[in-house]
């Protein structure tokens, strides 16, 4: 994937496969498969004890990142969360420096200094994952400000969960963006849990999108397991931003299959197997493949090739990462300051 962004042709209200050409569908598929494989492999490596620290994995939520990034170019900025691999991959980050960073090696995106939660690639507008809940939102507002300041046509998009919608930084950033009318899109990936607490226990509203009205900001809710639906909703928000109409909040209802961190994580039950299985039945990748096949827009071979290429890419990147050198201890205080 050389450049993010698709043809952005669909304008209809009802998400259908018609209106999206094969290229668009394959593009969405590729983004989702790359996330799925990367995260599955990362989870496997982590729970085998091969990676230092811990990971927050995006498996299950692929449609949100894929659909959202498909509306952006490399000049548009995103900020992400602690669960940021999906956003990075969908924006176009490469597997080799991502895996190398997870292993803490010098060839990682942060040269081993940041780890999973600080993966970034400024060349493709990925301003970093973030270990502090909600901290990326004000930063994205700043990135949007820079575009407004320079009048360069770029926008910023920021991701956050239902849990983060309770933190002060969300409210401040939303209000600030609305008042200053900045070109930013707030994408809430509502997976129903704030770490281990279900949504009903941490807020009284059902839709995070309802909060946007408090700031005079428009919003919409979409199906976070349907990449096309996500893409269309985000496109509307992006178009508004580019037109100078200010921010929008898009809420995508989605689900993560793995635990809050790791795969099985802390292995203390707080969700039911039934719930997980129910969501898996609506798996976003399977959904896209089935619909594309049913409508005859793209064929199974094309999809199979994407899976195959991605598995190969992943295997190559893991080998690369494991061979990458450890950072030199004498450089421990490097890059604290810019010269």
């Amino acid at each position: 994937m050389d450049q993010a962004g698709g043809t952005a042709t669909a304008t209809g209200d009802v998400p259908t496969v018609e209106g999206f050409g094969a290229d668009d569908l394959l593009d969405l598929h590729r983004r989702m498969v790359r996330i799925r494989i990367f995260e599955t492999e990362a989870g496997r490596l982590m729970e085998s004890g091969l990676l230092p620290g811990f990971l927050h994995l995006y498996v299950g939520q692929e449609a949100v990142a894929a659909g959202a990034m498909a509306t952006l170019t490399d000049a548009d900025q995103i900020t992400s969360t602690h669960r940021g691999h999906g956003h990075a991959v969908a924006k176009g980050a490469k597997f080799r420096p991502m895996f190398a960073e997870l292993f803490g090696r010098v060839d990682g995106y942060c040269h081993g200094r940041g780890g999973s939660m600080h993966i970034n690639d400024l060349s493709i507008g990925m301003l970093g994952a973030n270990g502090i809940v909600g901290a990326g939102l004000p930063i994205a507002v700043g990135a949007a400000f820079a575009s407004w300041y320079r009048n360069d046509g770029g926008i910023a998009m920021t991701f956050f969960g239902d849990g983060a919608s309770n933190i002060g930084a969300f409210h401040e950033a939303a209000n600030m963006a609305a008042v200053l009318k900045l070109p930013v899109v707030f994408v809430c990936e509502n997976n129903g849990y704030a770490e281990f607490t279900p949504q009903a226990k941490h807020m009284l509203l059902t839709d995070v999108a309802d909060r946007a009205a408090s700031y005079g900001m428009p919003s919409e809710v979409c199906d976070g397991m349907d990449a096309i639906a996500v893409r269309q909703a985000c496109q509307r928000a992006v178009d508004r931003a580019r037109a100078g109409e200010g921010p929008t909040l898009v809420e995508a209802k989605t689900y993560r299959y793995y635990d809050h961190q790791g795969v099985k994580g802390l292995r203390r039950p707080y969700r039911t197997e039934e719930e997980v299985e129910a969501w898996k039945k609506r798996d976003a990748i399977e959904l896209l493949e089935a619909r594309a096949a049913a409508d005859g827009v793209a064929d199974a071979d094309a999809f199979a090739r994407i899976w195959e290429e991605t598995w190969a890419d992943s295997a190559d990147a893991i080998a690369f990462a494991q061979a990458s050198p450890q950072p030199d201890p004498s450089t421990v205080t490097r890059n604290v300051y810019s010269d």
């Binding site: 970093g128 401040e172 008042v179 490097r334």
Partner: protein, 328 residues
């Protein structure tokens, strides 16, 4: 190169005006900075000159204000973020300490955060416990941040020019009791390097290292003590991160007795860091333990009688010098 008398706040304002003229990327964001010119008049006249694209008034949202600065800086702009009272940094410390200070490091060097956060600090105006603090110890302790504490109009302008041109997040600690202090300020822009202390007065009997407004008090104390036959050397570090340890230690070796004074609470204040650095490098040159003069361990009291006892001044500094020199 004309030199004329300006107030400390006007010198800051002039610095900002000049760097905004020289670099298109500099903008100011904060509460009441544009239309009102800032509650301390720091931003007077700038909206008129630079317009509302470069002077941004915001809602009361410190996290969002600093975050906006972080995001904009990471994209190559040079924000000056005004947080009014230093005490309010506590409201948005995450964006300062976890985001701005650490992004360069966490990203492996791939980003710069050339942001200035201007705050008004210090006690002595009966502003109460939540509007009077000097919190440089928190920030100097955070790798990735730089911290400047100008004590004069001349320093306010020169350090601000450097701060804006620096590619790192800088906390510019203006002292609210010094805002009206007058001093000679050259007309043209000039940059005082960070990490270079100023020796405000040379002496031989005792060294006083004084942070921020205490430098003014220390010079007054030195003048008083000169009349008593005591020769006091006064050093103003000007920035506490980076800290000019070399100048301080050289002075310690010369006078053999050191008093460190700051408005901040003594316990855990930067006097302890400076003291430790002196004894590490000049232990054999000390005739007395390094003395720290700072505020007692309590929040800043409101009543003027209490606040006067609380905040160090020229009398307490002079008294400290006499005590450290006392011989029987």
């Amino acid at each position: 190169m004309a030199v004329r008398e300006l107030t400390y706040v006007k010198a800051y304002n002039e610095a900002l005006q000049q760097v905004m003229r020289e670099d298109e990327n500099v903008f100011v964001v904060g509460e009441d900075v544009a239309g009102y010119g800032g509650v301390f008049r720091m931003y007077d006249g700038l909206l008129e000159e630079f317009g509302d694209r470069r002077m941004i008034d915001t809602p009361i949202s410190e996290m969002a204000i600093v975050g906006l600065g972080v995001g904009a800086a990471s994209r190559g702009l040079r924000p000056v973020v005004d947080i009014m009272f230093m005490d309010f940094l506590a409201v948005c410390l995450d964006q300062v300490v976890n985001q701005a200070a650490k992004m360069k490091f966490m990203f492996g060097g791939e980003v710069r955060v050339p942001m200035v956060v201007t705050v008004a600090s210090g006690a002595g105006l009966s502003a109460g416990a939540q509007h009077s603090q000097s919190l440089e110890a928190w920030l100097a302790h955070t790798p990735g941040l730089k911290v400047a504490m100008p004590s004069s109009a001349y320093d306010a302008k020169g350090l601000m020019v450097t701060a804006v041109r620096d590619d790192n997040p800088v906390i510019m600690m203006l002292n609210k009791k010094l805002l009206g202090a007058k001093g000679d300020v050259p007309e043209e822009p000039y940059a005082i390097p960070f990490g270079e202390a100023a020796t405000l007065r040379e002496g031989t009997d005792v060294t006083v290292v004084a942070l921020g407004r205490m430098a003014v008090e220390a010079v007054a104390a030195a003048e008083q003590l000169a009349g008593e036959g005591i020769s006091v050397e006064v050093i103003d570090p000007r920035t506490v991160q980076p800290l000019d340890t070399e100048t301080i230690v050289a002075s310690a070796r010369k006078t053999n007795r050191i008093v460190v004074v700051h408005e901040a609470v003594t316990f855990g204040g930067l006097g302890a860091e400076i003291s430790a650095q002196i004894q590490e490098t000049a232990f054999d040159y000390l005739d007395a333990p390094v003395m720290r003069v700072g505020a007692p361990f309590s929040p800043v009291p409101f009543s003027p009688v209490l606040e006067n006892t609380y905040v160090p001044d020229r009398a307490t500094i002079a008294d400290g010098c006499r005590r450290i020199l006392k011989r029987s």
